[in-house]
């Protein structure tokens, strides 16, 4: 018996004439291949950011690399000129004898007998590997450019959390309230103005927002709240809020206007006030969308680089006050990648931060796509 062939879902029109032209077939094949480029790109991003971070994760910093050692020797040359050397590690490279610097060094390591020192010279490559243990990464000091680099990401985690929190705390309510206003309370004319206005805000390049915060917001808030530092987590958070507002507004407004009008009319007909209808009927109906808006807003605030780089003060310190300068993940990458030696431990850990950023943004997006949007679709259809 002949097998019944079901038309593949790719065929929109089952009556389409199949082409015999080879050229057309090649073109169509190409379209289908290029069509998947976004998927490939996601994999490539993960793959190549991970690839550069991998040496760190594998602890593979024991083998010597040419680029690193050449820089170390030049570093040791410059360091030799200065009286204050607080770590022997760099100078223990091939060029110097340990005795030369020993008296000036105030690292306790130096007081170790010379034989052990000599041993350290031999094993210094392994010692270098020690710098990036898990304990080092989870430490509280971020001091990547030093002879004994410390890659503790805790200050960066705290800094990122603080700025993101401030940004969402300010940006999300403003965006949601403005969207409610635009969707329900604004006269038609005004609505036509609000949307393009938010689009203007969305069109601001982040470097311009950063510049604005650097110039005005910092001083204004310092005068207002008496912060010790002009640029701090709060200023950075405000800057990020400016970037977050358009995202929250746009998505919330889109969902609110997708909620069937009959719901609003029914609520009003039952005697609810305008605000009650908006707050108790429309907002819950659109809740998954609002939730998605906030999640994507968090993603934006979390990953934004230029604003964080320019307005947060960029000091990697552990403190709970929002008036202290902070340093975020993305700002760290942006500030330090330019000066780092390709392939060094510092380089790898910056890529590692990139992997973390990618994972967080991917997760936020997956949650909104897979859970929130489907629920919203169901809810709106049911409504």
């Amino acid at each position: 018996m002949e097998q019944v062939t079901t038309p593949s879902p790719a065929q929109k029109h089952s009556f389409v004439r199949k082409t015999n032209n080879i050229g057309e077939r090649i073109i169509e094949r190409c379209v289908k291949i290029i069509g998947g480029v976004a998927v490939v790109l996601i994999f490539l991003i993960l793959l190549f950011v991970l690839r550069e971070a991998l040496p760190l994760l594998m602890g593979a910093f024991s083998q010597p690399r040419t680029a690193q050692s050449s820089v170390e020797s030049s570093l040791s040359d410059t360091l030799n000129l200065k009286p204050e050397v607080y770590n022997p590690d760099v100078i223990l490279s091939e060029h110097q004898a340990p005795e030369e610097f020993a008296p000036e060094v105030y690292n306790p390591d130096v007081s170790v007998p010379a034989t052990i020192l000599a041993e350290k010279v031999n094993t210094r490559n392994e010692a270098d590997g020690d710098h990036i243990t898990l304990a080092n990464i989870l430490g509280t000091i971020w001091q990547p450019v030093s002879t004994m680099p410390k890659f503790g990401i805790m200050p960066l985690v705290i800094g990122t959390a603080k700025t993101t929190f401030v940004a969402i705390f300010i940006g999300a309510p403003l965006g949601i309230l403005a969207a409610l206003y635009a969707a329900f309370f604004a006269p038609r004319r005004l609505r036509e103005v609000i949307k393009p206005m938010v689009e203007i805000l969305a069109g601001f390049p982040s470097v311009v927002i950063g510049f604005f915060c650097l110039l005005y917001v910092g001083s204004a808030l310092q005068n207002l709240f008496g912060f010790d530092f002009r640029l701090n987590a709060f200023v950075g958070g405000i800057g990020l809020a400016i970037a977050v507002i358009p995202i929250v507004f746009t998505i919330t407004e889109d969902t609110l206007s997708a909620v069937p009008k009959s719901l609003l009319e029914a609520s009003l007909a039952m005697g609810a006030t305008q605000w009650e209808s908006a707050y108790k009927v429309m907002l819950p109906a659109a809740f998954p969308g609002v939730f998605a808006a906030v999640l994507l807003g968090i993603g934006r605030a979390f990953g934004e680089t230029m604003i964080a780089l320019m307005a947060t003060g960029n000091a990697a310190m552990v403190s709970t006050s929002i008036g202290d300068p902070v340093r975020t993940f993305s700002a760290t990458i942006g500030a330090e990648m330019g000066e780092v030696i390709w392939g060094s431990a510092h380089y790898s850990i910056l890529f590692f931060l990139g992997v973390l950023l990618f994972i967080v943004s991917f997760t936020l997006n997956a949650v909104t796509e897979l859970f929130v949007k489907e629920r919203l679709a169901k809810k709106l259809q049911g409504g």
């Binding site: 032209n21 998947g36 190549f48 206003y181 390049p205 990458i333």
Partner: protein, 299 residues
């Protein structure tokens, strides 16, 4: 007056305040940069190269670099985005697995922080493709394995891919189904229908997508930080393998890294305004074209 009413009035008042706050933000930033920037924009600024360690003179190389960057970016990104949109809209059904996976990827791509794109550009384009190219051609010194205009453009193209895909798809959806069916009924193949009927009717959408992508990418600094931008150049970039200056990066360095920030303030304001004008002109053009398309659809 009942408390219900009061709460309502209070809440609507809060919403109004939110809108006013946003409006204030937009107008104060725009106003500040217009007022402070406009007097500093001179022909000299727009046409000359920087002098004296970028503290005097013009910003022409930065304008030139930015323009070149977004042009190469659109040449690289727009065709790929358009083809993806064609695939999604013309070759797949909405419920199928492949388009859902692709759409998920596109949305994810839109949410990836721009600095991660910068890392990707460095890791993939510069370190992998660049090194590979140099090895293939047997170059003794690094020609491709270093940050360059081409790699920065490619990174930005990846970043703006979702923007292009979404806009082109919208345009493709606006082409009435009857036109496709008519074409197919006359015996045209699927590709002939796309090439002769669908695409010519959605050129404005493709244009909008490209303009939006350019507008978005013109102000992006993070992705190009390690893939090709430099603060100062002895001469204009002479090819896609050279480095370039950029308005956004210029502003960033002038306002944060230069020894005497106050001295270059006029230059910073002017650079900001030029950058803003560039992005807004592009955004307005895109919005205008898009609204034209939408109104056409209802006619």
């Amino acid at each position: 007056m009942s408390t219900k009413r009061l709460i309502g009035i209070f809440a609507i008042g809060a919403a109004t305040v939110a809108v006013i706050a946003i409006a204030g933000l937009v107008f104060s930033t725009m106003g500040t940069f217009l007022v402070k920037g406009l007097p500093n924009i001179t022909w000299q600024l727009l046409s000359e190269a920087p002098r004296n360690n970028n503290t005097e003179g013009g910003i022409f190389p930065a304008i030139y670099g930015t323009t070149l960057l977004v042009l190469v970016m659109s040449i690289l990104g727009v065709p790929i985005g358009t083809i993806t949109a064609i695939y999604l809209n013309e070759y797949t059904r909405a419920g199928a697995v492949m388009p859902r996976v692709i759409r998920f990827a596109v949305n994810t791509l839109a949410g990836v922080p721009s600095i991660v794109f910068g890392l990707f550009g460095l890791g993939f384009f510069v370190q992998f493709l660049g090194v590979g190219l140099d090895k293939t051609f047997g170059n003794t010194e690094a020609i491709w394995a270093k940050p360059a205009l081409l790699w920065a453009s490619a990174t930005l193209a990846a970043l703006t891919l979702p923007v292009v895909i979404v806009s082109v798809e919208e345009a493709l959806k606006n082409v009435p189904q009857e036109m496709r069916e008519g074409s197919l009924a006359l015996g045209a193949t699927r590709w002939q229908t796309i090439w002769k009927i669908v695409l010519p009717n959605s050129t404005t959408g493709i244009l909008t997508g490209s303009i939006l992508a350019i507008g978005r990418s013109a102000g992006e600094v993070a992705p190009i930080l390690f893939t090709g931008v430099v603060y100062s150049l002895p001469q204009l970039p002479d090819g896609i393998s050279s480095q370039f200056m950029h308005l956004g990066y210029h502003l960033f360095v002038l306002s944060t890294q230069s020894p005497d920030v106050d001295k270059t303030l006029p230059l910073q304001y002017a650079t900001t305004l030029v950058l803003l004008m560039l992005t807004f002109t592009l955004n307005f053009a895109a919005t205008f074209i898009r609204s034209r398309i939408r109104s056409k659809q209802f006619r």
